[in-house]
């Protein structure tokens, strides 16, 4: 169980004034075990920042983070990772000279058998074993790197996994495979919780709870049935740059076998 209490994250002002810029604004949120939560909301709303605060990549200005009852607010990244928190980055890092296999081994914390590696890759729609010996460098396409990033979290299998826009840049076939993977993890109900930052209706539909984050605040939350109409409305109602209404994807005809 993850509990965020009155979390505030501010950065120094960039506009010359003394007032710091508040990115996460007094946010409180609980994520129980076995829960599948989707965090959605407009670009710049603070979703990735929130994920980084949970992972320890950023430190909050004030507030508290509890994980399974322990206060982890002052813990570093490594400690939190070892405590069972995982984060698939929105923009994954690339490593010159490091193979996909090696990265998966590091993620799992042990040397994985080839078969297991292939299985992780298959779960993200990378269906060729030849990826294992490829380097995680710029020779991989954006969608490939993104899926390998997701595979590292699958291999790590943390108690709380946060995926930051896993659908971004991913083709329809792999996306289909990916939603299945998330559904499977969720259905196992073995005490793990999944948090997915997403704008995709297909992913939103899978969730137990949708959290709408805007201007660093939780402005709405509820089940998919409750939230879908409200999300469409709130997107339409907001001034400036609106979210386009999530479109229904028809993927049933697309083959997903590897």
């Amino acid at each position: 169980m993850l509990e965020l209490k009155d979390l505030v994250f501010e950065v120094p002002a960039t506009d010359g004034t003394d007032t710091p810029k508040r990115i996460i604004d007094n946010l409180s949120l609980s994520i129980p075990d076995d829960r599948f939560t989707v965090i959605t909301g407009p670009n710049g709303g603070g979703k990735s920042t929130l994920a980084k605060l949970i992972m320890g990549i950023e430190k909050p200005t004030s507030g508290q983070i509890l994980f399974d009852g322990t206060d982890i607010t002052q813990m570093g990244i490594t400690e939190r990772a070892r405590a069972g928190i995982g984060y698939a980055f929105q923009q994954p890092a690339r490593f010159k000279g490091m193979t996909v296999k090696k990265l998966l081994d590091l993620a799992a914390g042990r040397k994985l058998p080839m078969l297991a590696c292939n299985e992780y890759l298959r779960k993200v729609g990378l269906c060729s074993a030849s990826y294992l010996t490829r380097e995680v460098d710029k020779s991989l396409s954006g969608g490939e790197v993104k899926r390998i990033e997701i595979a590292t979290i699958l291999a790590r299998d943390p108690k709380l996994a946060i995926y930051d826009e896993p659908e971004a840049g991913i083709d329809l076939w792999s996306f289909d495979r990916l939603t299945e993977t998330f559904r499977d993890i969720h259905e196992a109900r073995d005490g793990r919780s999944i948090v997915i930052i997403s704008h995709q209706e297909r992913i939103i539909q899978l969730a137990d709870e949708i959290v709408l984050l805007r201007d660093g605040r939780v402005v709405d939350a509820g089940t998919p049935t409750e939230m879908m109409p409200r999300l469409a409305l709130s997107a339409r109602g907001s001034d400036g740059c609106p979210l386009t209404e999530p479109t229904e994807l028809h993927l049933t005809e697309i083959p997903t076998t590897c």
Partner: protein
């Protein structure tokens, strides 16, 4: 004879040549300027040079799937070992050559090894050359290798030159001339630390049509060490050349890379890239999120960068 080597010397051999005990086939093991043991095979003949120190290695045309080991170890302070090793590789061969030098010096005077390796690669031969340099101990350890490669038509050569640490100072000179359709892949990997210095000069001349070279330089400079790279590729025919220098700097280290390309033929296509920087912060953070400490993350990143 293996008894003659101390445990420390055996460790050096395994570091630089992956050797545990005496190898099969052709080999020549040199210690402190003297021969320890030599063995020729049916196709590979190793003989002592006359006139200058060193050996000639003659590989008969058509020799396939054979490996030659010619490691050198230096353990004597104050020793300056200069050696000329010349390889004559016949046509249509497919061979591996494992060289390397390990220095252990605990003395006050410097220990130095200057190896001048010359390769004549016969037409359509395939040669893999692996050279590892390594040093340990408190005394100064100096390694100045010179590598000269002459490649006949259609020869393919992969050279992997690595300095895995502990070398106080090095000046590395690599020269190659490529005939028609010859292909050279030259990979150099360097790690320096402390107050070490390394200079690497390379000159590759593409003289034959259809020849190509790929120079890959990867280096890590730690602490207060200094590295300078001067790779130069000259295209004198319808040829292709690609030079890529990547360096990671840490601490107060300095790296200077001056990749050069000269086209003396309008059909030469030459490209160079150089990048120097510290370990990307996002790489360390990613590995930390996988449960590694910052130090472990750094080590993994460097290991794989130099793999």
């Amino acid at each position: 004879m293996a008894e003659e080597l101390t445990q420390a010397e055996r460790d050096l051999l395994s570091q630089i040549a992956g050797l545990h005990g005496m190898p099969e086939g052709a080999f020549n093991i040199r210690r402190d300027g003297e021969l320890v043991e030599r063995h020729s095979s049916a196709n590979i003949e190793i003989s002592t040079k006359t006139g200058e120190p060193g050996i000639d290695i003659r590989i008969a045309p058509g020799t396939k799937n054979e490996t030659v080991f010619i490691p050198v170890i230096v353990t004597q302070a104050g020793l300056k070992d200069v050696v000329y090793n010349t390889f004559y590789i016949g046509e249509d061969c497919d061979v591996r050559i494992i060289a390397g030098c390990g220095i252990h010096n605990d003395g006050h005077a410097a220990a130095q090894h200057d190896g001048i390796h010359t390769f004549h690669c016969g037409a359509n031969s395939r040669v893999v050359y692996v050279e590892k340099h390594y040093g340990e101990g408190d005394g100064d350890r100096i390694l100045n290798p010179t590598t000269n490669v002459h490649m006949d038509e259609g020869a393919v050569c992969e050279m992997e030159l690595t300095q895995i640490g502990g070398v106080t100072s090095t000046i590395r000179d690599t020269n190659a001339t490529l005939g028609p359709d010859a292909r050279l892949v030259l990979t150099e990997k360097l790690l320096t630390h402390g107050h070490q210095t390394a200079e690497s000069n390379m000159k590759v001349e593409l003289t034959g049509d259809g020849s190509s070279v790929q120079v890959i330089s990867r280096s890590v400079a730690q602490d207060d060490s200094i590295q300078v790279f001067n790779p130069l590729v000259i295209g004198q025919a319808a040829s292709r050349g690609h030079v890529q220098c990547d360096a990671i700097i840490m601490g107060n280290a300095k790296v200077k890379a001056i990749p050069g390309i000269e086209a003396a033929s309008e059909d030469a296509v030459l490209v160079h890239e150089a990048a120097i920087g510290k370990i990307a912060g996002d790489q360390i953070v990613k590995l930390e999120t996988l449960g590694l400490t910052e130090e472990e993350a750094e080590q993994e990143i460097l290991n794989d960068f130099l793999n």
